[in-house]
Assembly symmetry: C2
């Protein structure tokens, strides 16, 4: 088999707050880095500012944007980011370009037509996403330096909103309407040589989506100690019949699943003898705002990491209320407590859980008082999860997803 998946898979939390931004938490935006490529989940207002500050995420490397739902704190940064990406094609980030720019500025560069040289940006979101992006760009006379498509994940009750003639933005290519598969309650969103993405609806006050990114299985491990002597032993016949001087150059071919044989069919080295079984791909789950995520459970089993909101919590200092009361109010607003997140992670048999989307009163700074609150929130999730691998995210927190053994 061919080498699938990616090498480096990591999440960067660019914004970890909920409805209101605060001095320590911006609106929601999560970047998933797949080697050099970047996928964003949600783009709250100010996400482009956070991206510029980020040490490891480059705006020009964004390939896909997934919107979990259309509440303003998750999408109001998208139009500005699209305009700024115009200035960041080719992987540059604005800070670099700023110092590089010496001639007079094309000024309103975010709104100037430039020819697109990169593949179109793929945007995925619930019904209404296409209209929102289109209207924002059209109202602001924005012309992008890249083309984009919006693929809508539609429920049976949603109206399809595909481009009607003459309505699209000049940079808009025709996206697809993905209708939910009601037997599995899911959408098959996307698949390439690295990953597949499946989505499923969540319960919230408006249509909300959870995304499951599953890496393709990686090639098994090559046992060098077994393979090298075999190639060494046949180096003369490899040189004379295959015209290959360095027999070790065949190691990569074998690892990629190819058999080394001579023109007469004699097998010199077969992958099955020296390459172990394929390693399962990693699974990353990013959920939108939710008070109930029953439908997505079957897709999340054995996840390496689950990103789950935990908007409100009952802290020990909250003497006027009970855990039950907080859970009820939180659910009434379409949200989750840390315990609900922990319980979900347990049901999925997840390896780790990252909590985010915190109320503005749970500060994301390093003050001891803030850290103490976040430890308490973490402990509430650990209690239900039954596993210690829980993190409360803060802005710019990077969560590595290590390769499976």
């Amino acid at each position: 088999m061919s080498e699938g998946g990616v090498v480096q898979l990591e999440l960067t939390f660019l914004g970890t707050g909920s409805a209101l931004p605060s001095a320590t938490r911006n609106h929601t935006c999560i970047a998933l880095r797949l080697d050099a490529a970047v996928w964003l989940f949600d783009v709250g207002e100010g996400s482009q500012h956070q991206l510029m500050k980020s040490a490891n995420i480059r705006i020009g490397k964004i390939e896909k944007i997934f919107l979990t739902h259309l509440h303003g704190d998750h999408v109001f940064g998208l139009p500005g980011l699209l305009c700024t990406m115009t200035n960041a094609v080719g992987g540059g980030n604005n800070r670099e370009e700023e110092s590089a720019a010496v001639s007079e500025e094309g000024s309103e560069s975010a709104t100037t037509t430039t020819s697109s040289k990169r593949p179109p940006l793929q945007i995925y979101g619930p019904s209404g996403t296409r209209k929102y992006v289109r209207n924002s760009l059209k109202s602001s006379y924005s012309r992008l330096g890249l083309d984009y498509l919006v693929h809508e994940l539609l429920l049976n009750s949603d109206e399809a909103t595909k481009t009607e003639e003459g309505e699209a933005h000049p940079n808009e290519l025709q996206g697809t309407d993905l209708i939910i598969d009601t037997t599995t309650n899911s959408w098959s969103v996307f698949e390439d040589e690295r990953c597949s993405v499946i989505a499923s609806p969540l319960t919230h006050t408006v249509p909300s989506i959870g995304f499951v990114v599953t890496e393709r299985p990686a090639a098994g491990k090559l046992n060098i100690d077994l393979a090298k002597p075999i190639l060494e032993r046949h180096k003369d016949v490899i040189a004379s019949q295959l015209k290959i001087k360095n027999p070790m150059s065949l190691l990569a071919k074998v690892k990629a699943g190819n058999t080394v044989s001579l023109p007469d069919g004699t097998v010199i080295l077969s992958p099955s003898d020296v390459v172990g079984p394929p390693r399962p791909g990693r699974k990353v789950v990013v959920l939108g705002d939710t008070s109930d995520n029953e439908l997505i459970v079957p897709f999340c089993s054995d996840a390496d990491v689950i990103v789950h909101e935990a908007t409100n919590a009952k802290l020990s200092s909250d003497l006027r209320t009970t855990e039950e009361e907080v859970e009820k109010t939180t659910k009434d607003h379409g949200h989750s407590t840390p315990q609900m997140a922990g319980s979900f992670a347990k049901r999925c048999g997840a390896k780790s859980l990252v909590l985010t989307h915190f109320s503005q009163r749970y500060k994301g700074d390093k003050d001891e008082a803030s850290l103490s609150v976040m430890r308490e929130i973490r402990d509430l999730a650990v209690r239900e999860f039954g596993c210690d691998n829980v993190t409360t995210a803060y802005d710019f927190y990077v969560h590595d997803v290590p390769r499976r053994k």
Copy 2:
């Protein structure tokens, strides 16, 4: 005459950059404080973040928002600000509310319906403003804690976009369509006991507007040294016939333009004897992006302050280009150089000029290199203005507009 105008009039520059935000300059947003009230001019992305950081501007005090034009770097912060204002009614700012909030959060408070207790927010902008605001709020399922109106300043070529039945957002009241007066090339935007606002179109790549805020004349100065002895001399008759024990309590009445007379008609003190002539009101001019502002000149004469963009400049270090070349490219993109701003201020006979909307390569920090560039930009404007009262704005710069003598 009655006491008109305001006491404190000051501009706060919340964002001073152009198309791209940078680490030192956010997108355009300018706050005009009229005593406690706040009017905003433009709301680029991240303006709500800047407002939260501002020491002197409170989100809950915003009464009016003027949009000079609809380019994204001037309007992409508006939907988020409207949602956040929901949480800031009554003059609170979010930092205060954050520490005050101890019970579990109403979570998606930016999108929850709450009853409105404050006067509706007035928004003024070019054709398309109403649609932009409406679509952004509707797409994001936003329900505001305040109502709003959009008044559009229409050119003759613009289509009126008044609310059609069933189309408005639930918090949207019916705004007005202001058609340009083609004899004066202006709109009479607004008038109250404090100020009048006139607007006029500017040349840019899209419809752009300049706003002229003129304070009503203030009451003349009361000559206490003249007035006091007269009241003192008549204190007995004032006490017996007007039933006023403290004759000095009549000073405010006289200053407000009222004559003090006895029941039989005898005049004791007439304002004309002790109150000087009314002082002319202050004039504040805020221009949108522009490469030519000929039409607005007649309204800007004798302005106390002109806020003018100066996107690009020919610096001494730019050896590969000339002033003429930079001016041409700048104009081609619909923008101005510092010299163009200085020349405009001179034609208006302005008392002071503030430059803003700088290219991202003109940093707004306090590094000596940045300050040196900004001094050079300032000098280019001073040269044409013929007046030294020029400031290059930076984020959070506060410009006081002193009362006229």
